[in-house]
Subunit: 214 residues, 2 copies
């Protein structure tokens, strides 16, 4: 998460290209030879860096989920509040839950715009993992969702928990739609796109609250 200035290592190159290829053609649709070719080496040379094709996917997916969760926790902490305590409502100290929600949305949008292949993989190739890895990824994802649900219900206390959870999943679907927004074509600049997505996410959440005790 630290700002990197040095050149990317071979391992990172491989992961990046593998992510792009997996997103484009699916995990089973890409051969190890193609991944190797994408970084200038060929075929089995990858096995000097990874235990196998599965290991690349696992590292990608665990990395994505962990990065999302870590970023969200950091943003929640930066708001000067205490996260994760399930002890009950009313514990919020101050610093505007609305601002925290905005920060979460902003973070997710940044990720969706900067790492489109990863966001594609994230909800597409999960079932191709070994059981243990899949469980880990799902656990990280669940924590991420629950973190959002908690913040959302502080902003809109009237919304029941199942509705809040569904709403969060749906807004993820909205924010993760970036790969479909013109292949770097007509979209009116990154900033405008981010602003648009942010406004829509807030609008969708607000609509849940209007008569939203489901």
């Amino acid at each position: 998460m630290a700002t990197r200035t040095d050149a990317p290592t071979r391992r990172e190159q491989i992961l990046k290209e593998a992510a792009r290829l997996f997103a484009e053609r699916g995990f089973h649709g890409v051969g190890v030879d193609e991944i190797g070719a994408a970084v200038g080496i060929s075929g089995p040379g990858l096995y000097r860096h990874f235990a196998g094709k599965d290991a690349m996917l696992a590292e990608l997916l665990v990395g994505i989920s962990g990065q999302l969760l870590t970023g969200a926790k950091r943003r929640l902490a930066e708001a000067g509040r205490v996260a994760g305590s399930t002890t009950g409502p009313g514990a919020g100290s101050g610093a505007g839950p609305e601002a925290v929600l905005d920060s979460l949305i902003e973070g997710h949008i940044d990720f969706a715009l900067d790492d489109r292949p990863l966001i594609t993989l994230h909800d597409r190739e999960l079932d191709r993992l070994r059981d243990s890895d899949r469980k880990l990824v799902r656990q990280l994802q669940r924590q991420y969702v629950e973190l959002w649900v908690g913040v959302l219900r502080e902003v809109y206390p009237a919304v029941a928990e199942p509705s809040a959870r569904s709403a969060v999943h749906s807004v993820f679907g909205l924010l993760n739609s970036t790969p479909h927004l013109g292949r770097s074509g007509s979209l009116p600049g990154r900033g405008a796109t981010a602003a648009l997505l942010h406004r829509m996410a807030r609008g969708a959440f607000a609509a849940v609250a209007e008569d939203g005790r489901g």
Copy 2:
């Protein structure tokens, strides 16, 4: 689109099971033997009904896109208005564009809730098609999107066209999130889920209009 009462033909069984399997494990992740086993026959027996595995996927994707577009056109026509004319604005006769938008949303939600595997395939396995089929599907999808964009801009005339198109894609992402909403688990009933999604879609669109000349 007519209401069917007779038993499904073997071809339809195959398509349905293939859709489910493709959605679960990806096109390349499913073998023809599995598809055959899912309908009680085994392996190469499928070739009495389809030219090959690719043909099944093609028929599924073309069918989905066509069904969505046809349904949307019908709903637009049922509102007693004229569709598709690019001759300019101001041609709307009456019957509330808001109602048309609601009808489009309702139709898409019905599809997303009733045919989750298909909605998953729809934006996931498109690149596995032969060029001609892929072009056809993309053309149908584009018409569908443009139809939505037209209706949306009648409801919110201040929204610029690129913003409207992005907004439509994003709302599709929201509505298509149904596969992630609990594997038939805790979601509070089909009707409530549909209503929630509908409200969120409207809220997202409304938020585009608020200061939304992007």
